[in-house]
């Protein structure tokens, strides 16, 4: 089995993670044009089911 030759310092771990976790971004959110609640761009509104001025999903099938 392959084993680490050297101790992996905290700094190395944290440097790697800082790159990774700082690269994570929340999805862009906008206000729904119909109900005003926050929604992700290019998705139907999760609270009212509207997309581009028309109801595309019924409330029951909303995810």
């Amino acid at each position: 089995m392959a084993n680490p030759k050297r101790r992996h310092s905290k700094a190395r771990t944290r440097q790697r993670r800082s790159k990774y976790y700082n690269s994570l971004k929340n999805p862009e959110v906008m206000e729904c044009n119909n109900c005003g609640s926050p929604k992700v761009y290019h998705r139907a509104c999760p609270s009212c089911g509207f997309y581009r001025g028309r109801k595309v999903v019924e409330h029951t099938e909303l995810v």
Partner: protein, 225 residues
């Protein structure tokens, strides 16, 4: 190399995949609008659209060719009788996919796929307002800047004023004097706001910060006030 390997496998064998697509197609033809995962919706589109194209010409051969893929007499009947008629002359693009969000459980991205002709509501693109601002020369740029802080009330008033002007002008095309009067009214309404907006812009410029990007931050309101 991913050469000539288009299309999603959907984690299925070929037979399973064909059965899935046939089933999805039948469901879409029956209900005109179905909710499924986004990859399945995207796989369904290039599968069903050629079938709909074929359904435009009702011949025995076409029916048999479509049946090869659909494997359902009801679906073929419905496709050739109902769907083909409603679709009419549409040159492709029979389906519309709208993303819904992620489902709980496995977090799969869900989508709604529908037949365009059965759900033909003109989408509110929201671009009508944008195109309207493009017409004015200097007004558009100022409005664009203002539209970003959604909390501010200023953009509302110019918008309605701009909307009213063409409408009023259209109603009284023969009365040129009236038109001039109508056209004169909005600028006065705007002029009251202009210094305010200009001040806000100046503050933004002086700061050198990108107010547009920060959007409706609470800081913005402070700056505007």
């Amino acid at each position: 190399m991913r050469h000539r390997n288009k299309g999603a496998k959907l984690g299925r064998t070929q037979a399973h995949r064909k059965a899935t697509l046939a089933s999805l197609s039948s469901a879409l033809i029956e209900h005109k609008k179905i909710t499924t995962t986004l990859p399945k919706a995207k796989a369904l589109r290039p599968f069903i659209e050629p079938l709909i194209t074929r359904a435009k010409v009702d011949t025995t051969h076409n029916r048999r060719q479509v049946f090869r893929h659909l494997r359902s007499k009801d679906a073929v009947d419905s496709l050739f009788f109902d769907v083909a008629e409603v679709v009419g002359d549409r040159p492709g693009g029979y389906t519309r996919i709208i993303k819904i969000g992620r489902r709980p459980g496995d977090g799969a991205e869900m989508a709604m796929i529908e037949l365009v002709d059965y759900n033909d509501v003109k989408p509110d693109t929201g671009s009508s307002g944008r195109s309207r601002t493009r017409r004015g020369s200097g007004k558009g740029r100022r409005k664009k800047k203002d539209s970003t802080p959604a909390t501010a009330q200023e953009p509302e008033t110019p918008d309605t004023a701009a909307e009213e002007t063409p409408a009023a002008a259209a109603e009284t095309p023969e009365a040129a004097t009236d038109e001039a009067a109508v056209e004169e009214a909005p600028p006065t309404a705007e002029s009251t706001e202009e210094p305010k907006q200009a001040a806000a812009d100046d503050v933004a410029d002086a700061d050198g910060t990108d107010v547009e990007a920060s959007g409706a931050d609470p800081d913005d309101e402070k700056k505007d006030a």
